[in-house]
């Protein structure tokens, strides 16, 4: 086992008013992930460190952090990615301090403690786009009756119909794309990449009839029109959702929707 230097940005509001950097030395091998390193720090070096995780297999979406300034899933990113290729094999230890890995909480969110951010700032946008199947059937029934109705229908779908939205359905709500998006950083009211990708996902679903309910959110200034196709959201997405593509397809849809509204008076 070799050692690696890791700096973590800490924030302990009850002890220090300001965030500060703390430096650790962590043993690692080929298979040590960023999350493993954080767990090592918590168990062996400083139990006061706080961070989120659960599945360790890139599916729960809770372990997002900034690694050297780029949003990553802690469990899907490895220490070996940040060190010279031959570092583990070579005998020299000189590179240890030279290659310090910097871990910070996700950018563009409010930090509550250490690596814990307020994910609500993302979840309110997600909720706003109604990311679930909406059917016309039984518009006057209670949500529960409606749900029973939806279950009762067979909801058949062909592979071609599935292919239309499948990519956008892979989102795990990790929020990395929000940390990658400068437009969200500049304007927290921007609905943002994942929420708009999810809206597209349901709008493109042949079983869904909720598009009219979703479009007002996307049509607004803080909807699709805040996006300038920076495209970094798609680069950092661990599930290859390509939210930037979804947002910009959403612009075409939003333009159509507003045109229809203008002529018919309905969204």
């Amino acid at each position: 086992m070799r050692n690696c230097s890791i700096a973590v940005q800490r924030y302990l509001p009850h002890e220090h008013a300001e965030p500060f950097w703390q430096h650790f030395t962590v043993p690692f091998d080929e298979s040590t992930s960023i999350l493993d390193a954080l767990n090592y720090i918590k168990e062996e070096l400083d139990p006061s460190l706080s961070f989120r995780w659960s599945c360790r297999m890139a599916i729960c979406g809770s372990c997002g952090v900034m690694v050297n300034g780029i949003p990553k899933l802690g469990c899907k990113d490895f220490l070996r990615n940040y060190l010279p290729r031959n570092y583990l094999a070579s005998e020299s230890t000189a590179a240890v301090s030279a290659a310090e890995i910097r871990i910070q909480p996700l950018a563009h969110f409010t930090v509550e403690r250490d690596l814990i951010v307020d994910m609500n700032e993302f979840l309110v946008h997600l909720e706003a786009v109604k990311p679930y199947l909406i059917t016309d059937a039984g518009a006057d029934e209670t949500p529960l009756e409606k749900h029973a109705q939806t279950l009762a229908q067979t909801n058949k779908q062909t592979p071609a119909q599935l292919a239309k939205y499948k990519q956008f359905a892979n989102c795990i709500n990790c929020g990395l794309c929000y940390s990658a998006c400068p437009q969200f950083g500049l304007n927290p009211e921007f609905v943002g990449p994942a929420a708009i990708a999810l809206a597209q996902r349901y709008n493109l679903d042949s079983r869904d009839q909720g598009k009219a309910a979703r479009m007002p959110v996307l049509n607004g200034h803080n909807g699709v029109w805040s996006c300038t196709f920076v495209g970094f959201c798609s680069d950092v997405c661990p599930k290859h959702v390509d939210p930037a593509a979804a947002v910009n397809q959403g612009k075409v849809e939003s333009a159509k929707s507003m045109l229809i509204q203008m002529f018919t008076g309905r969204g």
Binding site: A139, D140, T142, P143, P182, L186, P216, N219, G220, H221, W225, T228, K251, S254, A255, M258, L259, Q261, M262, T264, G265, R266, G267
Partner: protein, 130 residues
């Protein structure tokens, strides 16, 4: 609890509610982006590089006769007007990115300048063709 699906609203108010000009700016931006990518390289190469360097000699009467025709209008639209709105859109959002603008004033100035440039170019064509 019953959901109130049908709120009382007049057709007129819902017709215009929440509408804005973004789709128009974005359509002009996109069309201008295509022109900037597809037509501008050839235009710069011929008129602004090869001709001034003497590799190509432009024939004045030939160009006037072509430009005064419908080709001149197409050229003006595809090489000047649409790219102008493309540029205006990017500059407006760039001002927002740099946190020195991007609001209503930037909108008026950027798209206003693009509109002025377009009108000036179209007027130039109209004078020659008329």
């Amino acid at each position: 609890m019953k959901t109130h699906a049908k709120l009382p609203s007049t057709a007129k108010s819902s017709r215009w509610h929440g509408l804005h000009l973004e789709p128009i700016w974005w359509s002009l931006f996109s069309a201008g982006g295509v022109c900037f990518a597809v037509f501008v390289p050839a235009v710069v190469l011929v008129f602004a590089i090869l001709a001034p360097l003497g590799f190509i000699t432009l024939d004045y009467s030939q160009i006037v006769s072509w430009y005064a025709d419908i080709w001149g209008l197409l050229f003006t639209g595809a090489v000047i007007c649409l790219p102008a709105f493309h540029a205006a859109h990017r500059i407006r959002h760039g001002l927002h990115d740099l946190q020195i603008g991007g609001g209503l004033l930037s909108v008026v100035i950027c798209y206003g300048a693009a509109a002025l440039l377009s009108v000036a170019a179209l007027y130039g064509w109209w004078q020659l063709s008329g």
